[in-house]
């Protein structure tokens, strides 16, 4: 009989530490891979596990290795069918077609794939957005729970004892087991005292006294044996974590897709949309995303078209706002939906239209929206020129007036990923008092 040991219940994830070390080591490569995936993937997909493949070069483990293309070697191989000594076989690498195959296998050895968990992906995604730690934590936490009362339990901590319920149980048990009441005992004790105090009479009197004493003792013993409160009576309040009530939200992504929005601008805009989506996903069970792009006319499109197809034309921003209004009226009544909107643009607009945009926001949209964020994507050189001044494009100046009046309107200029987060600061700060429409 050998020594059997059941290790199945031992802690798992013995190599978790090693995995973290490896990810730290490969951080730069992974960041690049995640950035690529965010760029090419869908907005909603960021918040999930990711399958990344990375070249092994960043994490190579060099050793002295014989070079494959030098020297003489001898191989012993099994399965000879038609060869005889002296036969010559062309080498794999020499033919034109074969070189490709060789290179292909070489690459697949170098590249290797693995799955990053959601937390790890978000860590990498957040890295150059410069989010405060608390925000990161909040975004990574899946669902917020609140402890709610949920009936009673026979076990729990003393602080949670439910006195009423416990006493009710105790009372029932005392009745059922005929625990002598204090009144009963007192009556007997009183009678004994009366008899003892009274004149001493014959045997009958003595016998009566003896009887009473015995009854008293019996009752007292019974009383001691049947406690007033027994552990079986005790009931505790039970709590159950319940997810906080969430409702549905719709997120509008508005973007100028005219020729002036280049690759860099679109990439920044996309990160902005992803982050907003992550924020919203924490708070709502269900999020719809509506993509509206515009040039001089606006239209609702799918995500792919939104980010990748090109359209030419001028720029009339108000068309997008009107389209958004139309979609809200048709599909997302503000009574049932929390409406969030994010607009990205380079600030160009046809002259005279910016005022119209501002009035559309003032009069209708801001009443409907929980939150409206406008980002203007500018050149990094322009940051120095504009800084925080109110000067700028006509759209910027027009939106400035909205910004002053509505607390749930945010606007900012961004030139690099780190600029994105401040737009959300207010949104996040407001969170404790979030108003959920049912």
């Amino acid at each position: 009989m050998p020594n059997f040991i059941d290790r199945r219940l031992n802690p798992k994830d013995k190599s978790l530490g090693n995995r973290q070390r490896f990810l730290k080591r490969a951080r730069e490569e992974l960041k690049r891979a995640i950035k690529e995936q965010v760029k090419s993937g869908k907005i909603a997909d960021v918040d999930a596990e990711h399958n990344v493949s990375m070249p092994a070069r960043g994490v190579g483990e060099p050793t002295f290795q014989p070079a494959g293309d030098t020297g003489e070697r001898q191989y012993v191989l099994p399965g000879n069918r038609e060869f005889a000594a002296g036969d010559r076989l062309p080498k794999r690498g020499s033919g034109a077609g074969a070189t490709g195959a060789g290179a292909g296998t070489g690459q697949s050895e170098d590249e290797f794939q693995f799955v990053l968990s959601r937390e790890e992906v978000l860590d990498l995604f957040f890295e150059d957005l410069e989010l405060p730690d608390m925000v990161k934590l909040n975004l990574k936490e899946s669902v917020a729970f609140k402890r709610r009362r949920a009936g009673f339990a026979a076990t729990g901590s003393p602080t949670n004892i439910n006195v009423g319920r416990t006493m009710r149980n105790s009372y029932g048990r005392r009745i059922a087991l005929h625990r002598p009441a204090r009144k009963e005992l007192e009556a007997i004790a009183e009678e004994i005292a009366r008899l003892e105090a009274g004149p001493k009479a014959g045997a009958k009197h003595q016998q009566r006294l003896e009887e009473l004493r015995q009854t008293l003792e019996k009752l007292e013993r019974r009383r001691r044996r049947i406690p007033y409160v027994d552990p079986v009576d005790i009931r505790f309040n039970r709590f159950e974590p319940q997810p906080l009530p969430n409702a549905s939200a719709v997120m509008f992504c508005l973007m100028d897709v005219s020729a002036s929005m280049g690759e860099r601008e679109k990439d920044l805009a996309k990160r902005f949309f992803v982050l907003l989506h992550l924020f919203l996903k924490r708070r709502y069970d269900r999020i719809d995303i509506v993509f509206i792009r515009h040039t001089d006319e606006a239209g609702e499109v799918d995500e792919n078209t939104f980010f990748y197809s090109k359209q030419s034309g001028g720029t009339i921003v108000s068309t997008a706002l009107e389209e958004m209004l139309r979609v809200i009226r048709e599909r997302y009544p503000a009574r049932e939906w929390n409406i969030y909107a994010a607009q990205a643009s380079d600030g160009e607009n046809i002259s005279g239209d910016s005022e119209r945009c501002a009035s559309l926001l003032h009069d209708e949209l801001m009443r409907l929206c929980q939150y409206y964020a406008y980002v203007e994507i500018i050149d990094e050189r322009e940051t120095e020129i504009f800084g925080t001044t109110d000067n700028g494009t006509s759209l910027w100046r027009a939106y400035r007036t909205v910004d002053g009046e509505w607390p749930n309107f945010q606007m900012t200029r961004i030139a690099k990923p780190a600029d994105i987060y401040p737009v959300f600061r207010k949104l996040f700060g407001k969170q404790p008092a979030v108003q959920v429409r049912k």
Binding site: K14, T63, F64, T70, F112
Partner: protein, 516 residues
């Protein structure tokens, strides 16, 4: 009545296992192993683990205790990915050369598989570990687990004291030289006990603290221009440092001027682990062959006794045939010669030669052919050979024909490979010799040695690569590895490639020329 008796003779029925059936099967297997095959094993410790734990064990090179390093994490994500994709199954077992011998059994295995695995690992591998001369001489089964525990704790302590990055840097460099960190010819010293190690460390620390250069009393050597004297100096100092030295890690640990005591200890840990695994790498074919042969014999024996059902036996055979499957060289599944297939076939062949030899066998193996004593012959082979010598000694012509082995010679400059020998009368010897050579780790790994260093002068460390058959080193990884040597040595390091036969220098490179 008789039927009932037969049924109760069964060790188990169905595929579910529990500790009772495991123990019953173990006892039956033990009886066959010790009494019929005459095996001699360490006490067994069988541990049941889940698939995640198996993956964990994979990534820490199969040791139950291992220090932490990112490269193990890399291996883990790699294995994990393949496993999840279904591209690779997990091993059914894992066995550790220790005393008591620890065998991991996967909880997903069926009872038939558990029995097979017990026979394979707890008796086959275990017997090999205990009896093979390489393991007996070069590893210390009873000390390894406590040593690993020490290593793990020591590295955690270093990380706390000197920071993870500093420790990682030393480990990275040491891992790069792991292949050059074993004694191939000189027997390594036994692992000392915990207490002794502690004493050595204390002594080192004390020496370090009390070192004072003022006590140096040796007169400085006078500059001499006499070439004879220079030559003598060189050979003097080579002798003093015990050069040339094949174990680079050992040399760096003992001689490097820039390492702190804890860094030396880490080099030592890596070196000890490399040395511990060196016999396993030299006996892959024999070790697996032995275990496969043992499980095949034991399971068949139990089946003949009527102690396992036909269903279970079919499952065992199916798994067995998968393990010993050898695809041909042109098969897309061909990964090289399967050590299980070759080892098992050779051992069965030895049994056949002993029991039922042909005239050819009598020519080739006069000592054992027809002796009928296959158990003793195999026990002797398991104890006294490594892959190279085993193949050279026992690969028979009939097996070469069965595997249809052929020898391909490949010269880098030619546009074609040439078939040098095939499985015929003229080819047997050449194929057998070439196959044996291909299992000689010492001959196939780059032979790199420390040649010279002037500790009192410029401290330039000169390494020499003895080039065999014109096989050079891959340049990118060679340069990266040299940088690691430099990191541990602290001064310039150069490597010269010297043709082993002619003594002609083929290349030279130095860390001074390699961009950081």
């Amino acid at each position: 009545m008789q039927r009932k008796g037969a049924a109760s003779n069964l060790l188990f029925e169905g595929s579910d296992w529990n500790f009772e059936t495991l123990a019953r099967a173990y006892d039956a297997i033990e009886t066959v192993a010790l009494e019929d095959l005459g095996l001699d094993v360490y006490p067994n410790q069988l541990e049941i683990i889940s698939s995640e734990q198996m993956l964990d064990a994979y990534s820490s090179v199969g040791m139950p205790l291992m220090y932490q390093h990112w490269s193990f994490g890399k291996r883990f994500v790699f294995e994990d990915h393949l496993y999840r994709r279904g591209r690779r199954g997990l091993a059914y077992e894992l066995v550790i050369n220790s005393n008591p011998c620890i065998t991991y059994l996967m909880e997903e295995n069926t009872m038939a598989m558990q029995a097979l695995v017990t026979a394979h690992a707890a008796f086959g591998h275990n017997h090999f570990f205990k009896n093979n001369y390489l393991f007996r001489q070069w590893t210390d089964a009873s000390a390894i687990l406590s040593y690993m525990e020490f290593a793990k704790k020591y590295i955690i302590k270093c990380e706390e004291r000197y920071g993870t990055t500093a420790v990682e840097a030393v480990l990275d460099s040491a891992h790069a030289l792991m292949d050059q960190g074993v004694f191939r010819y000189r027997r390594p010293p036994r692992l000392s006990s915990e207490k002794e190690r502690e004493r050595t460390r204390e002594r080192l620390e004390y020496e370090e603290q009390t070192f004072s250069d003022l006590w140096r009393t040796l007169p400085t050597t006078s500059e001499s221009s006499d070439p004879d004297a220079v030559e003598r100096d060189v050979s003097e100092r080579k002798k003093a440092l015990n050069l040339p030295e094949e174990n680079l890690l050992y040399f760096l640990e003992k001689t490097s001027l820039i390492l702190e005591p804890w860094q030396r200890e880490i080099l030592r840990i890596v070196r000890v682990i490399a040395q511990y695994f060196y016999p396993q790498r030299q006996t892959k074919v024999m070790n697996e062959g032995c275990a496969t042969f043992v499980h095949y014999s034991i399971m068949n024996n139990l089946f003949d006794q009527g102690r396992i059902t036909e269903g279970a036996m079919l499952e065992v055979l199916q798994s067995h045939t998968n393990v010993v499957f050898q695809p041909s060289f042109d098969d897309p599944r061909f990964p090289g010669i399967n050590p299980y297939a070759l080892g098992f076939a050779m051992m069965q062949d030895i049994e056949r030669i002993c029991v039922d030899p042909t005239a050819e066998d009598r020519d080739w193996f006069p000592e054992i052919a027809g002796s009928g004593n296959w158990r003793e012959t195999l026990l002797d082979a398991w104890a006294n050979h490594r892959d190279e010598s085993f193949i050279l000694q026992y690969l028979s012509p009939s097996l070469i024909r069965k595997f249809r082995l052929f020898l391909l010679s490949d010269e880098a400059d030619e546009k074609y490979c040439e078939v040098a020998s095939i499985h015929n009368e003229r080819g047997y010897e050449a194929i057998r010799a070439a196959l044996a050579r291909s299992y000689d780790i010492g001959a196939n790994q780059p032979d790199i040695q420390v040649m010279d260093v002037d500790l009192l002068g410029d401290r330039h460390l000169r390494l020499q690569h003895n080039v065999k058959n014109g096989i050079l080193l891959e340049e990118a990884s060679r340069d990266a590895t040299l940088r690691h040597v430099r990191h541990l040595w602290g001064y310039e390091v150069s490597l010269a490639g010297v043709e082993a036969e002619t003594g002609e220098t083929l290349y030279e490179c130095s860390t001074a020329d390699i961009e950081e």
